[in-house]
């Protein structure tokens, strides 16, 4: 693919950055309708670059990986909204078929998700300052409302900055990788992703089951998956 074939003009970039803002807000601040899940955000990224199916494939892989990170209590989890958008857009920009591009998009999306987690931490520290001193805010409820809304907008800004900073580099890296064809190591690379999915599913299943019970169910589920594949339903 040549650079001229790559559809990432300023208009698309601006839309992606605005989308990143919305997706960045959704996970925690507002409205938590889960458009920030990678399943959605990567599809949006793919759609922006003209290939929603490619985005969704990346999103599906990231979603299975994210399943083992439920935001229980003080648990740390990847910020998948802006990251999913960047990953989905990157794979879509590469054409949405090359395996090397898929592997790289998913890994970049995962890494960006954890970078996003760091920015969430920074924002929470910033919120401590924004929402103080308490007596001043209590004395003026209008000010409390204003500061609360500022905090929400800052979360949106955080998501937008993440997409603005990482979209173009990620698209370029993934698109460059398209030229890398399969090699003798290729099948080990694919097997690595598949076994990674299996490990993630096992860990996620354990957190869903609240204990060691239920392990046969995941194998039964996989058995159903085999039937779906063999039955040609996929």
């Amino acid at each position: 693919m040549s650079w001229s074939e790559l559809y990432l003009g300023p208009g698309t970039w601006i839309l992606a950055v605005l989308g990143g803002g919305l997706l960045g807000m959704d996970a925690v601040s507002w409205p938590q309708v889960m458009v920030s899940r990678p399943l959605v955000s990567a599809t949006v990224g793919g759609w922006l670059l003209g290939n929603p199916a490619a985005g969704m494939l990346v999103g599906a892989v990231l979603e299975v990986y994210a399943l083992r990170h439920p935001p229980f209590g003080a648990a740390k989890y990847p910020d998948t909204g802006p990251a999913g958008l960047v990953a989905g857009a990157s794979f879509a920009a590469s054409g949405g078929t090359a395996m090397g591009a898929l592997l790289l998009s998913v890994a970049l999306g995962w890494a960006l998700g954890w970078i996003g987690t760091v920015t969430v931490h920074v924002r929470r520290r910033l919120n401590e300052r924004i929402m103080s001193p308490a007596d001043e805010l209590a004395a003026d409820p209008g000010l409390l409302e204003q500061r609360h809304r500022v905090a929400i907008w800052l979360d949106g800004l955080r998501g937008a900055i993440l997409v603005a900073a990482f979209l173009v580099p990620s698209v370029l890296i993934v698109t460059l990788s398209v030229g890398t064809g399969p090699s003798s190591l290729g099948r080990y690379a694919v097997a690595s992703l598949v076994l990674g999915l299996a490990a993630s599913a096992g860990a996620a299943g354990r957190s869903s089951a609240f204990g060691v019970r239920g392990w046969p169910l995941i194998l039964v589920g996989a058995g159903l998956g085999v039937l779906l594949v063999l039955g040609g339903l996929t």
Partner: protein
């Protein structure tokens, strides 16, 4: 004064932003105060001193599942309306923190969200369009999401101080106990079908039986040792593109 229907609607809609100013000092406390303000303004209309005291108390550290914070907001509003003394309200706030977090986390983050996401992915893998699959996920998830928020708010307002007792053994907990097998079953199915799609897309000569056997062993080991399983998954995710790129370089 008694809050009007519009005040309740404003307070309920503000619960969607209850985590907007989440911070390590008060956690969701400032968000609870923000959501509670439409009720407090009506209850303490013409009494700025009581309004100030109530807002100050509402801003204190609090935590809970964001959807179930609607219950805390409504119940606290009810206590303020019933003129319950501040010491009792503080005890109530402290007692409510634990159950609101545990019940909501287990039901929504632990079960409902994964089930809906897996249904969305499965519909895509079975041939539905990306737009349709995303719509299935969002519609299914948010029907449950909105229902929980409405139930939480109405229950909080009606029950007031009794809300903690109602939360224990409520339908949300019973439902969590029932849905987890479906969650695990779907996790297994989706992972296998997704893995098959990835292998198909690669068009590489992989041994399906060997990969399936190794996958089964890895799943069971990760189920038994989830922390290590999670780390292994992350390592394999990073190794995969590196191997591909390395292979391309060495030929």
């Amino acid at each position: 004064m008694k809050p009007l229907r519009s005040d309740h609607l404003a307070a309920w809609s503000r619960t969607f932003a209850v985590q907007g100013s989440w911070n390590y000092a008060t956690m969701v406390g400032t968000g609870v105060a923000y959501a509670l303000l439409p009720l407090l303004r009506r209850i303490y209309a013409g009494d700025p001193v009581r309004l100030r005291e109530s807002v100050e108390q509402a801003m204190r550290p609090f935590n809970g599942h964001p959807y179930l914070c609607a219950m805390a907001v409504a119940a606290l509003g009810r206590l303020e309306q019933d003129d319950v003394d501040p010491a009792t309200i503080e005890k109530f706030r402290l007692a409510l923190r634990g159950p609101l977090g545990t019940v909501g986390d287990r039901a929504v983050w632990g079960q409902w969200r994964p089930v809906c996401a897996l249904v969305g992915i499965l519909s895509f893998l079975l041939g539905a369009s990306p737009g349709w699959s995303v719509a299935v996920f969002l519609a299914l998830y948010n029907v449950g999401h909105i229902a929980v928020r409405v139930w939480a708010y109405v229950t909080g307002w009606q029950a007031g101080l009794e809300v903690g007792r109602l939360l224990k053994g409520a339908w949300l907990e019973r439902w969590t106990e029932r849905i987890w097998p479906l969650n695990i079953l779907l996790t297994g199915t989706v992972t296998l079908v997704l893995a098959d799609v990835v292998v198909e897309q690669s068009a590489l000569p992989l041994e399906p039986a060997a990969l399936l056997g190794m996958g089964a062993v890895v799943v069971l080991l990760a189920f038994r040792f989830p922390r290590q399983g999670g780390r292994l998954a992350a390592v394999l995710l990073v190794i995969a593109p590196l191997l591909w790129l390395l292979g391309g370089l060495v030929g």
